[in-house]
């Protein structure tokens, strides 16, 4: 299904901020779609990983409305496959950090039931808090 995306003027500051935080030369992305094709989470995402790259490249801060970076679990599948050797897991992390550094959490710890808290392995809890809390 065709999707219509309305572009705003390019916000170069936003692009540069994400490039600096991620350490990735995002403008090198050739939009081949390899990252999206292999992402095990793509069916859970509202827009796919290569679209994230495109929107950031075009300096569209509206990319922050997407949930994709919160679904990306840094599995590094795309990282090892990108023909431009770009690390999308770092781009997702940079986008998450933009929110988290504003002291906005993505997870509400109170929503975890006592029963779950007792059974979850420590690495799940620490990993989740590191990815979802600022």
């Amino acid at each position: 299904m065709a999707q219509i995306i309305k572009l705003k003027d390019k916000d170069t500051d936003f692009l540069e901020k994400i490039m600096e935080l991620s350490g990735e030369q995002i403008t090198l992305c050739e939009q081949c779609g390899t990252c999206s094709a292999g992402c095990p989470f793509v069916s859970e995402m509202d827009i796919n990983p290569s679209q994230i790259m495109r929107l950031v490249m075009l300096g569209q801060e509206s990319v922050m409305d997407s949930k994709t970076m919160w679904i990306c679990a840094s599995c590094f599948t795309c990282t090892v496959r990108c023909p431009r050797k770009l690390d999308l897991s770092k781009v997702s992390e940079a986008l998450r950090q933009v929110t988290l550094r504003g002291a906005i959490d993505e997870i509400d710890i109170k929503e975890i039931s006592d029963e779950e808290a007792l059974k979850l392995p420590t690495i799940a809890v620490v990993g989740s808090f590191r990815k979802f809390t600022g």
Binding site: E20, L21, S22, G23, P40, F41, S43, E44, I71, A73, S74, C75, F76, T77, T79, V80, D87, S89, K90, S92, E93, A94, Q97, I107, E111, I112, E116, K119, L120, P121, T122, I123, A124, V125, V126, G127, S128, R130, K131, F132
Partner: protein, 298 residues
Amino acid sequence: MKIPYFPGCTLKTTAQNFEMSAIESAKKIGIEFIELPRWNCCGVVASLTSDDLMRHLAPVRNFIRVQEMNKQGLVKNENRLLTLCSMCYNTLSLSNLRMKNEADDLQKINDFMHREEENYDGNIEVVHFLSILEEMGFDKLAQKITKPLKDLKVASYYGCMLLRPKEVGIDDAEAPAILENFVKSLKAETVDWDAGSRCCGSYHTVNNVDIVYNLVKGIILDARKNGAEAIITSCPLCAFNLDVRQSEIKKDNPDFQTIPIFYFTQLMGIALGLDKKAVGLEFNKIDTEDILKKKKLI
């Protein structure tokens, strides 16, 4: 051989079966794990932004512990740090890589940790137990097996953290063979399948468990389709998702056919003649004993 060992938080809590089976199996082949004194959590997930050096403090402190162990004579000239948990392995390795490649970052961290008695010198190597076994030679391991796992069809589940990113992967990211070679050394049968390095959903298990259910279902179905009777892993988070979450899937779908999940060291222990208690089978959620009894292994 005595080697400094980093257990990490989960091996002391929900993955005790991993730790006990690994320590006992290693003993059988002449490797003694010496636990780091005063180790601390590695942080679980590697920091992926360029500017948050703070997150590398936890790994670096553990590297200093290894240096101290050498000075105290707990180990002799041993700059390797052994890990079992795949996530610890990945996080410690990625931090170490940065410390080795970025002298300025290492300097900043060393300056910050003025309370540590010594600086990290950048010379520690983080290794996974599987790499130690490979280095020793899987043929040597095969010679020590007293109870061959004959006819047991084992699917090797690598997950993400053992293989990716490439700079820290213990084998080829797309076509790994180390776990299969390990399985062969125990005289079990390997399974050719697609889902061996597909993510299990990771920490989404905390607040988005449906994602995990979907991924786990896919992984188990693929294992079944290819004839697996058991799946092995080296990650306590993969193990939780594949084992505990799989049992929940079964509860909601009685027709779902489950597959037992083992830590690779549990099967290693059985093949080396350890009993089921020594490898902690009672901690596994999905029944592991039926299949082992059927194959006359316990």
